[in-house]
Subunit: 240 residues, 2 copies
Amino acid sequence: MKLKVYVDRMSQPSRAVIIFCKMNGIDFEEIKVDLAKRQQLSPEFKEINPMRQVPAIVDGRFKLFESHAILRYIAGVFPGVADHWYPSDIFKRAKIDSVLDWHHSNLRRGAVTYIINSTLAPVLGLQLNPQAAAEGEKMLSASLGKIESIWLKGTGRFLLGSSQPSIADLSLVCELMQLEIVDEQDKNRILDPYKKVQQWIEDTKHATKPHFEEVHVVLFKVKEKLQSQRSRRTAFPSKL
Amino acid sequence: MKLKVYVDRMSQPSRAVIIFCKMNGIDFEEIKVDLAKRQQLSPEFKEINPMRQVPAIVDGRFKLFESHAILRYIAGVFPGVADHWYPSDIFKRAKIDSVLDWHHSNLRRGAVTYIINSTLAPVLGLQLNPQAAAEGEKMLSASLGKIESIWLKGTGRFLLGSSQPSIADLSLVCELMQLEIVDEQDKNRILDPYKKVQQWIEDTKHATKPHFEEVHVVLFKVKEKLQSQRSRRTAFPSKL
C-alpha cells in the first residue's frame, strides 16, 4: 500500500516532507488538505491527525504527524533513502537531532511570527501587528546569526560541515523559503548580513532539484500575487 | 572518561536529563551552570555550547546540546538504558519523536510564556506582563487538553498508552513541574480540568523515584521562597 502524505504546499514542513519523498524515489500519494479552506479542521482529517495540522502520514495502519518525526521515520523504514539524509552513525545523527530540536523554538518561531504579523495576517483574517513582527524579526535574525556562525562555519556546503544535505538542511531551508512572500526589500534586509546562509539556501535548492523548485511553485504564485497587490497599492494609494 | 552533564536544576530540560541519567545508572559528572549568575554566557561555557543554553553534555570528544537530542543520544550509546525509554521499535520510536517535536511549540512555549510573565519575570529583571501571561495560559491549557484527550486516552499510565515511561513522559512532566512556582490557586485552576494529566504526573514521579523528588528539591525551595513573599505581600500590602 502506498504511503499517504497529507499536506498543503503552502506549509513549509509539508514541502520538506514532499521534497524528501521525491528525492528518495518513494512511491507516495499526495493528499491535499487545503488550509485556506480550513480542511484541517474536518472530522475526516481529525481521524488522520487529531492535532489537525499538516503534514501527517498514513503508512498502512500506522499514522504519524510532526514533520521532523515523519522525516526520521521515512528515513528509517524506506530502504532506498541515502544515509546522508539521516545518518546511522549515532554521533552524526545526534548532531542533526540537535539542529532539528533547536529549530522549533528559534528559527521556526521567529520566521513564523515575523511572516504572519508582517504579511500573512490579512489572508488569515487577522490584523497585521508591527510590534509582533519586530519581535519575530529579532528572533529570526538571531537564529540566522547562529546558523551562519555555528553550523555553517566549516568548509562543507551544508549544516554541520557536511558535503551532502540532511533532513535538517531541508527542514530549515523550507522554513526560510517562506520569506519569499514578504516584501522584497524586507526579505533582502533580513538575509543580507548572512552570506553563508544565502549560499546554503542556494546549495540546498541545487542539491534537491528539480523537486525543490517544483514543490515551491505554489509559493511563488502567492509571492507574485502579493507583489502585484503591493504595486497597485503604491500606484493608487488613495484607492485602497 | 565520565559523561559530563552541564545543567542548572532550575531548568526543566536540565532536570529531565539528570533524572534520566540517574534512573539508568549512568556514571556522570554534574557540572552546574548557574543561570542566576549568567554563567551560561561565560567564554568557557561557549566552548561547550555555542548556543549558551543548558543542558549540554560532553562525552569524550563529543559535545551535544538540546535536551531531546541528548536524551535520544544517551539512550542510544549507553548499553544499560531500558528499551521503554526510547524503544528500538521504529513505530514506537516515531510516536515518541512526534510527542517530543510537538512539545517545543505547544506545551513548552505555553508553559514558559505563562510562568515567566505571571511569576518569574522580576527574578529575571523583567516586568510581569498579564497579557502575555494570559496568552501563555491559553496555549498551555490547549496543550494540556491535547495531552489528556489524545496521548492519555488509553488505559496505559503513560503517554501513548504505554505501561512504562519514555523520554517523552520525563521531558513533558519536568516541564509541567515548573508550575510549582506559580501561585497555588493559579496552578490548581490550570491543572484542575485535566484529571488524567494530574494522575500521569503522579505516575511519572512514582516511576522515577527517588530521583525525581531529589532533583526537584531546588525547585521546591524556590516555591517556598516565592510563597512566603506572596504571603508577606498579602499581610502587609502597604509595605511593598
